[in-house]
Amino acid sequence: MATTTHDEFEDKFHHVALRHERSWVFIAVAMTAVLFIVAVYLVVHDYGLVAKTTRFYANPDTPATLADFQGTGIKQTGPSSYNVYEMGRAWSWTPGTGTPITLPVGSHVTFYVTSGDVLHGFEVQGTSINLTAIPGVVGHVSYTFDKPGTYYIICNEYCGAGHQAMIGKIVITGAKQS
């Protein structure tokens, strides 16, 4: 590939191109710098939806035996804050699939999520709650339910033949408090 046959048209075009090239590279770098700053800002000012690690377990069957994951799996931790201990198994969410998780509007909920078998995806439709359920790791995310209604928990990580039917329910009751 060699540079050949320059003519007036090409020289003129090249001249303009060089000028545009400089401004384009500048715009690209500036845009990336802005995105970078925003990304770092959001890392520092975490608003709760970041998937965090609670604990690792060498034996993935251990979390199921812990007190937190027994009973309803729902614990009130303050006037309007709750911990929900969520176990994903092929193909149900406990709590959520058998009996819906029922909480009052305005609840600030921290979901502690793990899996008893393969990978699952803990997604609450209509919110930004999204956390991978991994056997042997308990992760957590927080979210405040400001609107009453029924929210569906959907498994969004392939987990076998019943994956599409691995659905749970969160019912947020009452009127919105001002």
Partner: protein, 564 residues
């Protein structure tokens, strides 16, 4: 310079030797496109699934479930089609550019190994023993045939690197002090990037999956395996895209009647893609526990940097096309666009691929942004995104390339230019419709890879009824693209078995450049590929050691599950 006596000149291949090389590339492309044909046929079932139409019951006992179909769709399209076409392409083009004969023994060995690996994996997918999808996340457990087959294919895909480096070394010896010609430079960069990328899934397969599936180990660390998978799983998209870039940078401008605007800027883009694409795979795991938020922040920043070479590509390629359009008499702000040779199916395919790629790239910036990814992670948004990128920048570009490459390889005339043009438009429109609708449905929380049409109708409507118009569009888009594929394969086979034509012996449209590499400091710096490869490996390890450390110090022993 005594060009006649230089070793490079003496090893110029004869017509007969070139015929052998053409046969080699034809074997790679025909095998790859046959895999794609099966993959696309199954793809129609996937898109109609989202529209609420379950076609799988009609395919018993051939295909037992949506998930078996999806596994085959993913493996055949994303691995088999790409690995075959890319491996052949990246060995053949540099050989023609340098006018050297590649190591044909190694080239055919690559082909044979890939074929064996593909047949092993195909067997394990057809008997439904390995419906683990193309991401094969353990502790779901497929058969050993599946993992060993994929291992063999990945190992084979590394060999073309040595074929290209050996040719480059021979050329440099004969041309001391000269910069590597552009296409060879691009090919070597892609394959070096792929070598570093393949270390992740390669070690996952060899150290975790193969021994586990053979019964040598009883448990597996699902988080570690997944992290090693994504070490490869992100840069693999660049391994898919960049061979398409070779055509749009170095061949398309000539086909469109123009020249490449800047050779140094092209080298810079490829170099940045090498450096930025390997360390960032963890961004596929923003939603995973077990990885510190600090690392996720670093990965976000690094991932967004990949936008720089992509924006350089947008600039250089668009300007080269503008040059071509103005040469052809296009006036005004956008006149050059309409002056492009739109009747040429090869040009149309590649320019349309670039159009979809604008939307693909914009969506990619959303995925790369940690907090925005929360909303779309593992929803239909994601496959919609990569059908606009890999489904076009690789697939549609290679479809376009095949319209001149098949005549070039076989000496037969293109079956029907009109049908070829119609097929690329249908593919483009189909993928745009499905891509738009899939992004929309994904934002509303429709998950990816779910057999939603297998749900009772009431439940399907309760969960996804709110975006049913979008989901119907997904099905329609898939059907339109499939029509395009039917047209494409008529042209494909029509050309392969068509009439010989002396005029069909097309030359490879290597493009000329306006600003060459000579005298450019950037090109000189970019030339040291060994240094840049080591630098990339160092950056990759610097990012990955803190990611992998907690996983290695807190090992998880999970048993395997077969749940389909």
């Amino acid at each position: 310079m005594s060009a006649v006596l230089s070793p490079a000149a003496r090893s110029v291949p004869t017509t007969r030797e070139i015929a052998g090389e053409k046969k080699m590339l034809l074997a790679f492309w025909v095998t790859g496109f046959l895999a794609l044909m099966v993959g696309i046929a199954i793809g129609v079932l996937q898109s109609s699934n989202y529209a609420g139409v379950d076609l799988y019951p009609y395919l018993q006992p051939f295909l037992k479930s949506y998930y078996q179909g999806l596994t085959m769709h993913g493996v055949l399209n994303a691995y088999v089609f790409t690995f075959f076409t890319i491996s052949g392409w990246l060995m053949y083009l540099p050989a023609r550019e340098l006018k050297l004969r590649p190591n044909m023994g190694l080239a055919w060995f690559t082909y044979a190994l890939m074929l064996v690996g593909t047949l092993m994996a195909a067997y394990a997918m057809f008997d439904n023993s390995s419906s683990v999808l193309y991401t094969f996340y353990p502790p779901l457990k497929g058969s050993a045939w599946f993992y060993l087959g994929i291992t063999v294919v990945v190992v084979a895909s590394i060999i073309p690197l040595f074929v290209v480096l050996e040719m480059r070394a021979r050329w440099k010896k004969a041309n001391p002090g000269k910069l590597t010609p552009l296409v060879t430079y691009m090919s070597a960069t892609i394959l070096l990037m792929w070598l570093l990328a393949a270390l992740g899934a390669g070690s996952e397969a060899v150290f975790l999956l193969d021994p586990w599936s053979l019964g040598m180990t009883h448990t597996i660390n699902p988080l570690l395996a997944r992290t090693l998978f994504w070490w490869t799983g992100h840069p693999i998209v660049y391994y898919w895209l960049m061979p398409g870039y070779v055509s749009i940078y170095a061949l398309l401008p000539r086909q469109a009647g123009g020249k490449l605007v800047s050779d140094p800027l092209t080298r810079l883009a490829f170099l940045l893609l090498l450096v930025f694409s390997v360390p960032v795979g963890t961004h596929h795991q923003y939603m995973d526990p077990g990885i510190s938020p600090m690392i996720k922040g670093v990965v976000t920043a690094l991932t967004l940097s990949v936008a720089i070479p992509s924006l350089i590509t947008a600039f250089t390629v668009a300007l080269s096309l503008e040059y071509a359009g103005r040469r052809r008499g296009g006036k005004g702000l956008m006149g050059w666009w309409f002056a492009l040779p739109w009747k040429d199916p090869s040009v149309a395919a590649q320019v349309l691929a670039l159009v979809t790629f604008i939307f693909g790239g914009a969506g990619g910036i959303v995925n790369a942004s940690w907090q925005l990814d929360n909303v779309v992670h593992n929803t239909l948004w994601i496959p919609a995104h990569f059908h606009l990128t890999v489904g076009t920048m690789t697939t549609l570009v290679f479809m376009g390339v095949s319209f001149w490459l098949l005549p070039h390889l076989t000496g037969r005339r293109l079956y029907s230019a009109k049908l070829a043009l119609a097929s690329v438009w249908l593919w483009f429109v189909g993928l745009m419709v499905w891509g738009f609708a899939g992004h929309w449905a994904g934002m509303d929380g429709v998950p990816r890879r779910a057999w939603v049409s297998g749900l009772p109708h009431d439940q399907y409507m309760q969960l996804y009824g709110g975006v049913h118009p979008a989901l119907i569009m997904v099905g329609i888009g898939g059907a339109i693209a499939a029509l395009g594929a039917v047209g494409y394969y008529v042209v494909f086979f029509g050309t392969l078995f068509g009439r010989k034509d002396a005029k069909a012996m097309v030359e490879i449209p290597f493009t000329e450049v306006i600003a060459g590499p000579e005298g450019s400091t950037m090109s000189r710096i970019a030339e040291h590929l060994g240094f840049w490869t080591v630098a990339t490996l160092v950056i990759t390890l610097a990012v990955y050691i803190p990611v992998l450390w907690p996983m290695i110090t807190h090992p998880i022993h999970a048993p395997g599950f077969v749940l389909w």
